[in-house]
Each structure stands twice: as structure tokens, then as C-alpha cells.
């Protein structure tokens, strides 16, 4: 196995993990959202993230299998194996994606922070020298923009809404803020891939992201939280206690009945 392929497998798997875990989280709103239209919207957004995870995992599996060459003694893997048969420590999603859904304000605050980041990130990832990565990004960027329109609207509506909605979404931003710094950190794999123009240098995206977030929060009469604390570790497989709970639901069927298919 070549090193550059290892880095690329790590990279696309991590991006797939972000999407899968968040998609699974948002899907928890299915049948429980505040009203029907919102129920549909949340599950549609969840579907976009699950689809994105599948594209990244398919590519990770393809790269992994290509490295096996003609070695017949080792089984080929699929996107499903990557999703269903890894434990929490092997998941490399950043922590903000795995946090519980909280109340509706919390869900939309997180969505807004991630969508704003997603638009910046995917705009750069489209330029990746890797054709598959760039193709996935080209697909994702359109969805990110659409998601952002909606989550941005909700931040305005809740922030500049009633006293209770204002308080709830302000609390949500305060609670989430320390998890955003991890979005702009680079792993060793990402740094290595940067030299061949495959990955995105996220460290330079923060200014544009912060400007967008600040503008919306200001318009929503909300206060931008202070950078007082930060938690990271997701890309290294060090997670909050919440990831195990997501996986226990996500992976239940394959763990209880290995190899089961529809």
C-alpha cells in the first residue's frame, strides 16, 4: 500500500464520517420535528448527508481494494463495511457532528455553523486534483448552499423571534462554539495531501467563515460567542461519549445479525 493512498483513504473516510454521523443525527428528528414541513426538510437534509457519506465511502473502499491488487487472501470491502463495522475509535469525524440534537434551536445552530463551513470547504474541495474528490465536492456544494439558505433563515427567525427562541439559540451557539475550532485544524494526512493539491487547507478558511457567521448572528440580534474554550480530537478518533450511542443505533442490525441484507 502506498503512503499517499493511505492518506487519501484517511481523508475521504473522515469526510464520509462527518457526513454519516451528522446525517444520522439529523434523521433523529424524523416524525418528531416541530411541524410537518420541518420534518420533511430535516429528513431531506439528512438524506443529502447520507448520500455524501456513501460517495466518500465508496471511494475509500475502491482505493482500499485497489491497494490489495491481486492478493486473493484478503476480503474486498464495501462502503457498508466502513459504515457498519468500525468502532468509535476508528471513526474520524470532527466532534461537532456527533453531538446530540438538543432542541430545535440547537439543531439549527449547529446546522448553520456546519453549512457555513461546508460552503467554504466544498468551494475549495471542488479544485482538488483528485477527480473523484472534486466530483463529490461539485455535487455537495450545491446542496451546502441550499442547506445554508434554510439554516441561515432559521437563525434569523429564532434569534430575532421571541424572547424564548432568542435565548434558546443563543445558548446553543454558546454551547457549540468551542467545537468549531476543530473544523479548521489539519491532520497529518490532510497536510500531506495538500502538497499534491488533493486536500483543502482549512486553516485559511476561518476568516471568511467567521465573517459570515458574525454577519448572520448580528442580523439575528445574537452575540458572537467568545473563543474561551475548545475541544478537539475527533479526527484522531478521540470522541465524546455521544458517538458510541449514535453508532449503537446506526450499527445495531449489522452487529446483531452480521451479513444481513434486505
Amino acid at each position: 500500500m502506498t503512503n499517499s493512498n493511505n492518506d487519501l483513504i484517511d481523508y475521504v473516510t473522515g469526510l464520509g464520517d462527518d457526513s454519516l454521523i451528522l446525517g444520522q443525527r439529523i434523521a433523529e428528528w424524523c416524525s418528531k420535528a416541530p411541524f410537518l414541513e420541518e420534518d420533511l426538510a430535516l429528513t431531506n437534509v439528512a438524506l443529502d448527508f447520507l448520500g455524501r457519506a456513501q460517495m466518500f465511502y465508496n471511494y475509500a473502499a475502491e482505493l482500499h481494494n485497489a491497494d490489495l491488487g491481486t492478493d486473493k487472501s484478503v476480503d474486498r470491502i464495501t462502503a457498508d463495511d466502513i459504515a457498519y463495522l468500525r468502532d468509535a475509535r476508528e471513526y474520524k469525524n470532527t466532534l461537532i457532528h456527533e453531538l446530540p440534537i438538543g432542541d430545535f434551536a440547537y439543531t439549527m445552530a449547529r446546522q448553520f455553523l456546519i453549512d457555513s463551513f461546508g460552503v467554504q470547504f466544498m468551494t475549495e474541495l471542488v479544485k482538488s486534483s483528485d477527480k473523484t474528490v472534486s466530483g463529490i465536492a461539485a455535487k455537495a456544494i450545491k446542496e451546502c448552499r441550499y442547506h445554508l439558505r434554510r439554516s441561515n433563515d432559521w437563525v434569523l427567525r429564532l434569534g430575532d423571534g421571541t424572547q424564548e427562541s432568542h435565548e434558546r439559540i443563543q445558548t446553543a451557539f454558546n454551547q457549540l462554539w468551542g467545537y468549531t475550532s476543530e473544523l479548521f485544524e489539519m491532520t497529518a494526512s490532510e497536510t500531506a495531501l495538500l502538497t499534491v493539491n488533493i486536500s483543502v487547507d482549512t486553516t485559511v478558511l476561518r476568516d471568511a467563515w467567521l465573517k459570515q457567521v458574525s454577519d448572520t448572528l448580528k442580523q439575528a440580534t445574537l452575540e458572537l460567542p467568545k473563543d474561551e474554550w475548545q475541544i478537539n480530537g475527533g479526527r484522531a478518533g478521540i470522541h465524546t461519549e455521544h458517538l458510541g450511542q449514535v453508532l449503537s443505533e446506526l450499527q445495531y442490525l449489522q452487529r446483531a445479525y452480521p451479513g444481513l441484507s434486505w
Partner: protein
């Protein structure tokens, strides 16, 4: 592709009209060609390669479309069928043909309109006096609108 023999070319033509029969599982009035999902058909030896592209990343209809293609082609006598998914260039609503857009309209779904252009027109009473209810409708590719004139809710095929 090498210069095709006349026979091969007619086979590809035949395949295009054959696959015209395959409709979107969620919107059965419009074919996958009219939606711009069907991108290419190639004959490679005795294998038919069909290239499709998803509208949205998580579109659950893709799996069914893939199965429909394989099933139809095998019924038509093509034994080796390869359905490839192409991600790039990413699908856009611009690929929906004018005939396809009309079918959407007649089915009660407002076809995509370029952004910034007037209001979305109600496919039922043709009034431009409509409002957005939700950015997402019954499927990922649609938004939910309501007509202020006839008061009917309707789906709008989002422009992306």
C-alpha cells in the same frame, strides 16, 4: 470511441429510445432522459454501458432507476449491462428538457425557474401570487409552495 459501424450506431439509437421508457420512480410522468439523469449510452463489445447521474447525493430513487435499467435491457435481450454513476459534471436543473418541464407542470409540479425571476407560478391556476412554505417538499428535489390565489399547496422543482 472508435468510428462505429452503422449497425452499432443504430443499436445505440435503439437503446436511447428504449431507455426513454424509464421514468423517475417518484415522478412517473417524466423520463430519466428528460430529467437529465441519463447521460450516456455506449456499446463496448457485447456490453451496454449506461451512464447516469444522481440529482441529489442521497436520492433514494437512484437504486431503483439502476434496477429498472438493468431489467429493461435484459428483457430487450442485452445480457451484459453496466450502469455507471457519474458525479461530475454535477447534475443541474438546466438539463431538464423543455418537454420534461411541461410534463412536470401538467402533473402539478412547478418546473424550475431561474432564481431572481418573478414568483414561482402556480401549476394549477397559473397565478404568480404564491409563497414559499418550506425549502424542502416531499422529496429532496422539491420545495413546498402555496398559491395565494387558489390556496392550493404545490410542489416546486428546485432550481440547482
Amino acid at each position: 470511441m472508435n468510428t462505429p459501424t452503422p449497425n452499432l450506431e443504430s443499436d445505440v439509437d435503439r437503446l436511447w429510445s428504449l431507455l426513454e421508457q424509464i421514468t423517475d420512480p417518484e415522478i412517473p410522468v417524466i423520463s430519466i432522459r428528460e430529467l437529465g439523469i441519463l447521460r450516456d449510452i455506449r456499446l463496448e463489445g457485447d456490453t451496454v454501458a449506461v451512464v447516469i447521474t444522481p440529482t441529489y447525493s442521497g436520492c433514494p430513487a437512484m437504486r431503483e432507476i439502476r434496477q429498472d435499467i438493468s431489467k429493461l435491457l435484459s428483457t430487450a435481450g442485452f445480457e451484459k449491462v453496466l450502469v455507471e454513476t457519474q458525479l461530475s459534471p454535477a447534475w443541474t436543473t438546466d438539463w431538464i428538457t423543455p418537454a420534461g418541464a411541461k410534463k412536470l407542470h401538467d402533473y402539478g409540479i412547478a418546473p424550475p425557474q431561474p432564481r431572481g425571476q418573478a414568483n414561482i407560478r402556480c401549476p394549477l391556476c397559473s397565478s404568480d401570487n404564491t409563497k414559499l412554505i418550506s425549502e424542502f417538499g416531499s422529496t429532496a428535489c422539491k420545495a413546498l409552495y402555496q398559491c395565494n390565489a387558489c390556496l392550493e399547496p404545490f410542489d416546486y422543482f428546485k432550481c440547482i
